[in-house]
């Protein structure tokens, strides 16, 4: 049968088409508001893989958001935030930074103040990790790693790294210059707002033959080959190294546990703000948080997660430890000078 269109039906059809065409942009706009790409600037490796596996795919995809990871160094992300600051729309929606990094970027006015109402999971965030501009994603604390085969008495203080019995068998990591100077300061009269006394203390360690390794991985290798017996490190990484068969135990320094927090923040000029809020909320989902504890040894930043008891025993700290927050303002102003001293005096 040949298709026939009457004039009336043609006009009706045109009318419907016009209506749809008129509604079109509104519908598309609606769809974009409830979805679309969200660019997350982050570290690559395990961290990105876990985010993809436990947040991007199961939480974000079903509600229409496509997560695009922009992986690299956090210093590059900070530079990008600063360089793009004058632009109305930046290249990243969400940015993963250290706690120090997010403070520095907040002070430079590159981050959005977060509307907590748009992130229902934020109500579960542990108090000591909260800021108005960041979502704390994972955290751990700084401990002493030691090889029990050679270090018979479990260390109790950072001062134990200076024990002459271990001279030449202590390692420090080049990229951890800030926390190394800080640890030395904590046993030599310094404070979180004054690392200066730590410098002379570190020069004693240098005199005793401390070994300097370029990266965390190089330190792991030196611990594995028993080239060094002791170092300062984040507990989460210690857990990962234990999982990799490196012969180390961990000890909590009596000076206190300095916190390491990985934050995620929203750029002030984010293109997809709704998507960014959805992502930041997703980071705090208990189902995802438990996977970062399992996969990377970090503690959850929310209080509504059930971590299996055996895992909790390995990654968490005893109830009686003192947690210490770094003085971010001091670090933002002095980091360059600390690095200069490290390069010119300590490493020279």
């Amino acid at each position: 049968m040949a298709a026939s269109i009457t004039r009336r039906r043609f006009v009706q059809g045109m009318g419907a088409g016009a209506t749809l065409a008129g509604l079109g942009p509104a519908l598309v706009g609606k769809a974009q508001a409830a979805g679309g790409p969200v660019v997350v600037g982050t570290w690559g490796g395990d961290y990105q893989n876990l985010m993809d596996q436990y947040i991007a795919q199961p939480i974000m995809a079903p509600i229409g958001y496509q997560i695009v990871f922009d992986s690299g160094l956090d210093t590059a992300r900070k530079t990008k935030l600063l360089a793009e600051h004058p632009l109305p729309r930046g290249s990243m929606d969400v940015v993963a930074l250290t706690h120090s990094g997010s403070y520095e970027m907040w002070k430079n006015d590159t981050l959005a103040e977060l509307d907590l109402k748009k992130m229902p999971n934020f109500s579960h965030v542990i108090d000591k990790l909260r800021t108005p501009y960041s979502v704390p994603h994972i955290y751990t604390g700084r401990v002493i790693l030691y090889n029990p085969k050679f270090v018979k008495d479990k260390p109790t203080s950072y001062a134990d790294l200076w024990n002459p019995a271990y001279a030449g068998k202590v390692g420090v990591i080049d990229i951890q210059y800030q926390t190394t100077i800080e640890s030395a300061a904590m046993i030599s009269g310094g404070t979180m707002s004054n690392y200066e006394p730590g410098k002379a203390k570190l020069l004693e360690l240098k005199k005793a033959g401390v070994k300097i390794y370029p990266t965390n991985e190089a330190m792991a290798s030196a611990l594995k080959t028993e080239e060094v017996w002791m170092c300062i490190m984040w507990k989460a990484r210690g857990v990962m190294w234990q999982n990799a068969g490196i012969p180390i135990e961990m000890a909590n320094p009596k000076e206190g546990i300095v916190l390491y927090v990985s934050d995620q923040v929203m750029a002030k000029n984010a293109r997809n703000k709704d998507g960014a809020y959805a992502w930041l909320n997703g980071l705090l989902e208990p189902s995802a948080q438990v996977q970062f504890a399992r996969g990377m040894g970090y503690n959850p930043t929310v209080n509504n997660v059930d971590i299996p008891a055996d895992l909790k025993a390995r990654i968490d700290f005893p109830a009686d430890v003192t947690y210490i927050n770094q003085d971010q303002d001091y670090l933002a102003k002095n980091d360059g000078a600390l690095k200069d001293w490290w390069d010119k005096e300590f490493k020279a």
């Binding site: 160094l73 300097i212 000078a337």
Partner: protein
């Protein structure tokens, strides 16, 4: 304007000019780059003993590497240039082959060889030459061996093409007139190959001055050459103004020394 010149202008000259401008800005910790017009960065570079040491070390390593690559590369280049072997193509491929792997990959290979449980210590131990493993990693020796291995392919290829262009009859004439092989090489081959030697040397010198992956991976945290220090300023500290000034000083010194060597050789040999 030719399209190629336009590309060079847009993608090389203009960004360089922008970097030059950045080098006169100032850096306030936590504030990235602050618009200014100050020579402070260059003054720091000239007066701070640390940066003078870094520059001195970079020059020492680059000059050592250049001399070594020329000494090691010449016999290989001469053999390649003069060989009548039907496998010459394969031999040339063997020289080019290392270039197929990136510098970082090659440095990783050296790391395996140089480590305390590595190939070299293993061999020396097995031969009974050492009781305890030697520390080869994170030493200047490791860096120099690493950069020489990177540069050798370029030097051998440059030298062999120049030696190939030298008329063998000139060497034969010298030999027939009673010159020893060494005299023939010193008085005939070497002066004729001088432009190639200079080109190969300049190439090796420039590559060494700008070496990044090899000193970082084989030299360790305490071995500071210019390129890693520039990268540290820009990538780690976000101090673009100082990083830019370091970069420009590196370019300027490389250019001056290269032009100086060119002039000296030309002047001495009347080229």
């Amino acid at each position: 304007m030719a399209p190629a010149s336009l590309l060079v202008l847009v993608f090389l000259a203009l960004p360089m000019l922008l970097m030059l401008r950045y080098s006169f800005n100032s850096f306030v910790p936590g504030k990235f780059m602050v618009e200014a017009f100050t020579a402070d960065n260059y003054v720091t570079l000239a007066t701070d003993p640390y940066y003078r040491h870094v520059l001195g070390l970079t020059l020492t390593v680059s000059i050592s590497v250049t001399i070594l690559t020329l000494i090691v590369g010449w016999p290989v280049a001469q053999f390649l240039a003069r060989t009548q072997s039907r496998h010459k193509g394969l031999l040339l491929l063997a020289v080019v082959l290392p270039l197929f792997a990136g510098n970082a990959v090659r440095a990783a290979g050296w790391m395996v060889a140089f480590s305390r449980q590595g190939l070299i210590n293993g061999l020396l131990g097995a031969l009974g030459l050492i009781d305890a493993p030697l520390d080869i990693m994170f030493t200047p020796t490791a860096v120099i061996i690493g950069i020489v291995s990177v540069n050798l392919s370029y030097v051998v290829l440059t030298l062999s093409s120049v030696i190939e262009g030298i008329d063998r009859r000139a060497e034969e004439a010298a030999l027939s007139l009673g010159a020893t092989p060494f005299e023939t090489w010193r008085l005939v081959t070497l002066p004729l190959a001088l432009p190639g030697l200079l080109a190969a040397g300049v190439l090796s010198f420039i590559l060494s001055m700008n070496a990044y992956a090899t000193p970082v991976l084989l030299g360790g945290p305490s071995f500071q050459m210019m390129a890693p220090v520039v990268a540290d300023q820009v990538l780690q500290r976000a101090n673009w103004p100082f990083g830019a000034s370091l970069g420009f000083v590196l370019i300027l010194i490389t250019l001056l020394l290269t032009a100086g060597a060119n002039w000296l050789v030309g002047h001495k040999y009347g080229r």
